[in-house]
Symmetry: C2
Subunit: 184 residues, 2 copies
């Protein structure tokens, strides 16, 4: 074995990263301590040296997943243009990479029925999403709220719809119409 302090921090990070992926891929409730630890090459007992319990891990993993999703939309970093945001968000690539994409779209219905803790975490990031898009629209918050609602809704619907060309159509149609929203 190797159990140095540096490795402990590294292992915690790997557990959290795996959980942030798993949570978007399979949902908050589907993450199991045993399976998660096995996926990073450890045994289940060690989990409690890193997190107080499963619920605490889920809260951190949700936060992490939301941050990762945000990074792609360009929150915090260099400001993205509205058309760039919409194009990236409503792309086939984003639709097909649930485990690394926007956690709001991946987990909104899970969080809607969760306790206060996850709802508050996601609430904060929904507001950040509004602000990022609002900034790209010259500060028009109302149009930003409409655009975010449409983007999140369209992405989720495109992931539900079984027929690939129909799924593509949802993305394209909403993308094109939102582009007009940025122009007017």
């Amino acid at each position: 074995m190797g159990h140095s302090q540096a490795e402990k921090a590294q292992n915690r990070e790997r557990i959290l990263a795996a959980a942030a992926r798993e949570v978007r891929e399979r949902g908050l409730e589907a993450v199991s301590v045993g399976t998660l630890m096995k996926s990073v090459g450890l045994t289940h007992g060690g989990f409690y040296g890193h997190f107080e319990n499963r619920e605490a891990l889920l809260a951190e993993a949700l936060e992490r997943a939301l941050l990762e999703g945000e990074a792609k939309v360009g929150a915090g970093g260099a400001p993205s243009s509205f058309p760039d945001i919409v194009r990236g968000y409503l792309s086939g690539k984003h639709r097909d990479s649930r485990d690394s994409g926007c956690a709001v779209a991946a987990l909104a219905s899970d969080v809607a029925r969760a306790d206060a803790a996850p709802r508050e975490i996601m609430t904060e990031h929904v507001e950040t999403f509004f602000e990022t898009v609002s900034r790209s629209l010259g500060g028009d918050e109302e149009r930003a709220i409409l655009a975010v609602s449409a983007m999140v809704g369209a992405l989720m619907l495109s992931r539900v719809v079984a027929d690939p060309s129909r799924s593509d159509a949802i993305l394209t149609v909403v993308r094109d119409q939102l582009a007009g929203l940025g122009a007017s």
Copy 2:
């Protein structure tokens, strides 16, 4: 006891109705055979006289939930006007009654990660939703897809956001802007 054939049909109906509610309230995976049967006053063993297994029940419950949600939007029945659909869908009442409201908004992220069977069931109802709204917009399918995406997205976000006045704002802002979409 009373075990007539008429009562059997009635019990099946009660199980299904309870499941259609439960599925929207707690998600597809959270429905347990034992708890469900207890909630309609029966014991778990009897379940298998009504459904082949849990998965078969979930498929039927999803279909039922989607039909119930559609009935409120006026699919099939008398045609609703676009403003009426939007007003009803993006209302505080709808947001607060997850267990009897639109099953697309309640279960989209669950179904997005489910097997082919639930995805195909929901796909059909998403298309129906598009058609209903399209009809209310004089046959403009593209605007209907945008409107449905925005309605589903906004309802989900309003259920995530913890602060009630902020949650109301999402509904109101999207509702007002979609109204403009129907007019132009």
